[in-house]
Amino acid sequence: SPSSTSDGATSDGKLKANSLAAIQEAGVLTVGTEGTYKPFSYHEDGTGELTGYDVEIITAVADKLGVKAKFEETQWDAIFAGLEAGRFDVIANQVSINDERTAKYDFSKPYTVSPGVIVVKDDNTDITSFADLAGKTTAQSLTSNWYELAQKNGANVEAVEGWAQAVALLEQGRVDATVNDNLTFLDYEKQKGDTGLKIAAETDDPSLNAFVFTKGNTELQQAVDKALDDLRADGTLAKISDKYFGSDVTQ
């Protein structure tokens, strides 16, 4: 990649897209997100404005940077391709930090710290720990780190598109469990009331989710980190978290 000077300009003097300087000059931070991932990134009532936990936090971050957040919605498949192609400056979509990703991208400080849970049917008594997943079938979204976790514990993993399909399979008795973010399940219960599902176990180590930048976009990453620190300090993060989850999941 072309060497960039510290103010984000390339050697030929033009501003490099996605650099902090370019973003500030344009006054717009372009954010890639799914828009179909409740409660993190979704549309109000399904048909209204884009909203959600991630959306609100990155909007607050953009405020701190003195720019407007502009959202581009696409599917998970395309979200990293979009970041690399310079279509977005940052991804805000509950991306968890893992080794493969840190090798390719830069992450902000985490803004969600939440354990993974095993969700099973109410009447299931076989599964009470992650070790019990061995030989069981779980439904996982291919793109989440929960897929890896279930696989590591010996589960037979069926890849589905998302939470809704995983739950459908679970309810239809076609899989034994699904592993996902605690928060996702809580939101689902909040919406559906009695779901006939329960949490069978929780991970020891929480997963850390953060904003994603292209490798080497250090100025932007540092600016966002600083904004996150400020938002944490002034209680904004806790407030947003409380609004969605009734507790502070940001640390």
Partner: protein, 222 residues
């Protein structure tokens, strides 16, 4: 949970139809129109006696039909920027879809041109027309007739394929359904609702096809 499934479906209809009107339909119409122009060019190249020209057309058709549309969209929208070409979502979608239609329709148009009896070319030549004049005034009007049914198949497929455009940031019918499904977790119901809207669009297209076929059939014995 406070709202019944029917209320949800009713409430969803407006945005889904809206997605059809502002996304699916203009995208499909525009791409189809451009695609036909490309297809005509490619079909004529494919019919050329110059090896290189017809080889190029063959290669184009083979790649377009042999690879998934999803990847074609991906390459144009997310791949081209790596060589410095950045195209906006709508133009990208239109480029990808019309190139795609161009590949499929080229074969239809080629077959239609070949289906016009050789005697029609000769009749054109013997009244003094050039190759181009004969093509435009004699052959294509007749080729149009036989190509309407297969082209309308291509069009109907295109209408449904436009749902892939959401991948490159274009909001259309299916994307709307997905959004509502994500919120309400009722993906099955909303997908069926979307399917019904697609079906209505395709029914309208099919009747347009019948009308067109009748019009083009007026000079043929029944």
């Amino acid at each position: 949970m406070t709202e019944s499934l029917w209320e949800l479906l009713l409430r969803s209809l407006l945005p889904i139809v809206g997605g059809a009107l502002t996304g699916t339909i203009p995208l499909a119409l525009l791409s189809f129109a451009l695609g036909l122009v490309i297809a005509l060019g490619v079909a004529l190249m494919r019919l050329s006696r110059i090896r290189v020209v017809s080889g190029l057309a063959r290669g184009y058709i083979s790649i377009i039909r042999g690879t998934p549309l999803l990847v074609q969209l991906f390459v144009i929208f997310y791949g081209l920027p790596s060589i410095g070409i950045i195209v906006d979502p709508w133009p990208s979608a239109i480029i990808a879809f019309s190139l795609n239609v161009g590949g499929y329709a080229a074969e239809v148009i080629r077959a239609a041109i070949l289906s016009v009896p050789k005697g029609q070319w000769e009749a054109g030549y013997t009244i003094g027309m050039s190759r181009g004049q004969t093509l435009v005034r004699v052959i294509l009007p007749q080729a149009a007739r036989v190509s309407v049914p297969p082209l309308s198949n291509t069009f109907i497929s295109l209408v449904k394929d436009t749902s892939l455009a959401s991948l490159i940031l274009v909001t259309e019918l299916f994307r709307q359904a997905q959004q509502i499904a994500a919120f309400s977790q009722e993906f099955m119901a909303l997908y069926i609702e979307a399917a019904v809207v697609y079906w209505v669009i395709c029914l309208v297209l099919s009747s347009a096809q019948s009308v067109l076929e009748k019009r083009l059939d007026r000079y043929v014995a029944h």
